[in-house]
């Protein structure tokens, strides 16, 4: 991975005009058919996400990756847990399962093992995947089961109004940490690398192209893959932590993101605290070929077991 992957992120300035209302923008852009209409459940729009939220950006990258991938759309399945990111399952026009809080990964595992031809993506948030679903996350990574995980990390539980979660930085404000978070957060790439995932990367919602390219890459990558996408949650997290709006958080990403090249980032440097003037390392941290999980297969009667 070269530094050029970041190039596309520098031209964002000036894309939004705060004086124009959404209605005016809608009137100005009069398009009969959106290129993603075939893969988004248009009848489910408008979505539930707040202005400035980053989840839609990540979902759009996922949708585009499905269209760009060589497999038929109908071979794709998305599984979500609970939370704002969990609503992605309801908006994608593919076979989609919106399950219980924390259980998207084992549900997806059952789907994949019962029908191995499916490309099974788990699209969910940091609270769902890492807190209540944390045990499934690390064990699926350990098994290296062939699931594609997209984890939108917005540092809090957004849907329920901004409670602290397993990624909330030390000292950060949330409705359940009114005096500042007394706990240390997880460093997700480090956790997933240690757990055994075949592929681990981190981007932000500023890195639209990289996220899409990475999802496309992981579709073809056997084993457990994990893409962390940092995303603004201006209502849940930003407002309590002096980040004015989604755009300001995107600006922070632009200023601070540093592309990690192989071996030059120490684990602790992957820690994130948006409130501090320090680099946010992004990029592909792990890309390896541990054997993916395969159920035991027996060929001849009474024959030997295979890998």
């Amino acid at each position: 991975m070269s530094a050029s992957m970041l190039d596309g992120t520098t031209s964002l300035r000036g894309t939004a005009d705060p004086d124009r209302t959404a209605a005016q923008i809608g009137a100005a852009i009069n398009v009969e058919q959106h290129p993603l209409d075939q893969i988004i459940r248009a009848e489910r729009m408008p979505h539930i996400w707040c202005p400035g939220c980053g989840i839609g950006v990540a979902m759009r990258a996922y949708a585009q990756a499905i269209l760009d991938f060589k497999f038929p759309v109908d071979d794709h399945v998305v599984v979500s847990g609970i939370g704002c990111s969990g609503r992605v399952a309801g908006y994608m026009n593919i076979d989609s399962y919106h399950t219980t809080h924390g259980r998207a990964i084992p549900f997806a595992l059952g789907l994949k093992l019962a029908n191995p031809k499916l490309v099974v993506t788990v699209f969910s948030g940091d609270g769902d995947l890492v807190a209540i679903g944390g045990n499934h996350l690390i064990h699926a990574a350990r098994r290296n089961v062939d699931l594609k995980v997209i984890c939108v990390n917005n540092f809090n539980y957004g849907m329920t109004g901004g409670q602290a979660g397993p990624t909330t930085p030390l000292g950060a404000r949330a409705t359940t940490t009114p005096y500042g978070n007394p706990e240390l957060p997880f460093n997700l790439p480090y956790l997933l690398a240690a757990s055994g995932a075949n592929y681990v990367s981190r981007w932000t919602t500023l890195h639209v192209r990289q996220v899409k390219e990475d999802i496309l890459y992981t579709f073809a990558k056997p084993g457990f893959t994990f893409i962390e996408v940092l995303a603004p949650c201006p209502v849940g997290f930003g407002k309590s932590n002096n980040i004015e709006d989604g755009l300001e958080e995107m600006e922070l990403y632009r200023q601070r993101c540093v592309l990690a090249t192989d071996g030059d980032v120490r684990a602790e440097e992957l820690d994130i605290d948006l409130r501090e003037e320090r680099p946010i390392y992004v990029g592909r941290f792990i890309d390896r070929d541990r054997a993916p999980y395969q159920p035991v297969v027996i060929h001849a009667p009474g024959g030997a077991k295979e890998g």
Binding site: R44, G90, N135, H136, K305
Partner: protein, 382 residues
């Protein structure tokens, strides 16, 4: 291959192994589970056997993951099962509700042990009966069977898969440590003698208009599997016929009512009871699972003393067999309910017969022997 799938013939087999063989004979091709005494032998046997028939065995990280994986496999089209005991069932209950609302056919085997909490891991209990019925939050109906022998561990596992598939419901096999571990003769029929009720499937090809949760007369919607091109959406949120979330009281009432009525209205197709000496009985013992074995012994001994007593054995326990109880038993009979808990099914019997019943209860740890049941019969006869 069929000889591997169905081990036709007579076997001397434990209940747990018979359950596993029943699953294979029923076409189960996915097992996700977590070891827990006294159900572990089900998992161990399937770990050996499923790969022989091209199925998948996976040992999950916990029971939360076990049931979720089984639901996922069912959604992909597989007959799928897990096996556990009380502590594990407690962990599975949230997703039992997911199975109910997504209408995913799965089988959960609960080999009950002494409880609550860690209780008596290696000893029997029957105290998860109400948990199976009411344990997940919300209003729902559940289907559950209570085998009393290794033979029924085989037969009722097949029945559980059939009901699960036909009516798109989770089905529980409420076994106990006694029937799980005891070894007895099990007859496995020829493959072509094994009844198979299949899932109702959509008649129309994939197109935009298909509503995956639109049900017909029997209230069971046809089932679509992942990867078939229908582009379905399943959600644990209250949803409309298209599967889309609909946060309205009206839709919620319609959905929950259909899910409950689906089981109630079709119940005569899968509730089962057996009567022994009920024809002239003035005293009726109600029992299920291993306890029914002692109850039958007690009834036989009492009959030798010319006491007009019979046994009503609940083969299915949920939905409760209200009608069978009313029809099989005279109005003025005296009821004795015996179970390895401090009174669970006895409340259902009291509800149906509208008067107090005598209980022969034990908290669990050892099977209730015939003697206290016989004593209760003798007391009732006086």
């Amino acid at each position: 291959m069929s000889t591997k799938r169905v081990r036709t013939g007579q076997h001397f087999m434990s209940g747990d192994h018979a359950c596993a063989e029943g699953a294979l004979a029923a076409g189960c091709r996915f097992f996700g589970g977590y070891p827990i005494t006294p159900s572990t032998e089900v998992a161990e046997h399937l770990a050996r056997r499923l790969p022989e028939v091209g199925g998948v065995f996976i040992q999950m990280e916990d029971e939360l993951g076990s049931i979720a994986s089984v639901l996922g496999a069912s959604a992909a089209g597989a007959r799928a099962m897990t096996a556990t005991s009380g502590p594990g069932l407690s962990l599975m209950l949230e997703n039992l509700g997911l199975g109910v609302i997504l209408e995913l056919p799965i089988v959960i085997v609960d080999v009950q042990r002494g409880s609550p909490s860690t209780g008596l891991p290696t000893m029997p209990g029957q105290a998860d009966i109400m948990q199976a019925r009411w344990g997940s939050h919300g209003d729902y109906e559940i289907v559950a069977y209570a085998p009393w022998s290794p033979q029924e561990m085989f037969d009722l596992t097949i029945q559980a898969f059939n009901v699960a598939d036909r009516f798109r419901v989770p089905v529980l096999l409420m076994a106990d440590e006694v029937v799980g571990h005891m070894v007895e003769r099990v007859e496995i029929p020829d493959a072509d003698q094994i009844e198979c009720w299949s899932r109702k499937r959509p008649e129309q090809p994939p197109n935009g208009s298909f509503a995956p949760f639109e049900a017909g007369e029997d209230l069971v919607p046809p089932m679509v599997h992942a990867g078939e091109g229908y582009r379905i959406h399943y959600t644990g949120l209250t949803h409309d016929e298209h599967g889309y979330p609909d946060m309205s009281a009206e839709t919620h009432h319609r959905l929950v009512t259909r899910l409950v009525e689906k089981v109630r209205r079709n119940a005569d197709q899968f509730t089962r009871v057996e009567g022994y000496h009920l024809e002239d009985a003035r005293i009726v013992v109600v029992a299920y699972g291993c306890t029914a074995r002692s109850a039958r012994r007690a009834v036989r001994l009492a009959r030798r003393q010319n006491i007009p007593v019979g046994l009503l054995r609940l083969v299915s326990i949920w939905p409760f067999a209200d009608e069978a109880l009313r029809q099989l038993v005279p109005d003025d009979a005296t009821f004795i309910v015996t179970e390895m808990n401090l009174g669970q099914i006895s409340r259902e019997v009291e509800r149906v017969v509208r008067r107090p019943v005598r209980g022969v209860f034990h908290a669990g740890g050892a099977m209730i022997s015939p003697e206290p049941i016989l004593q209760a019969i003798q007391e009732a006869a006086q």
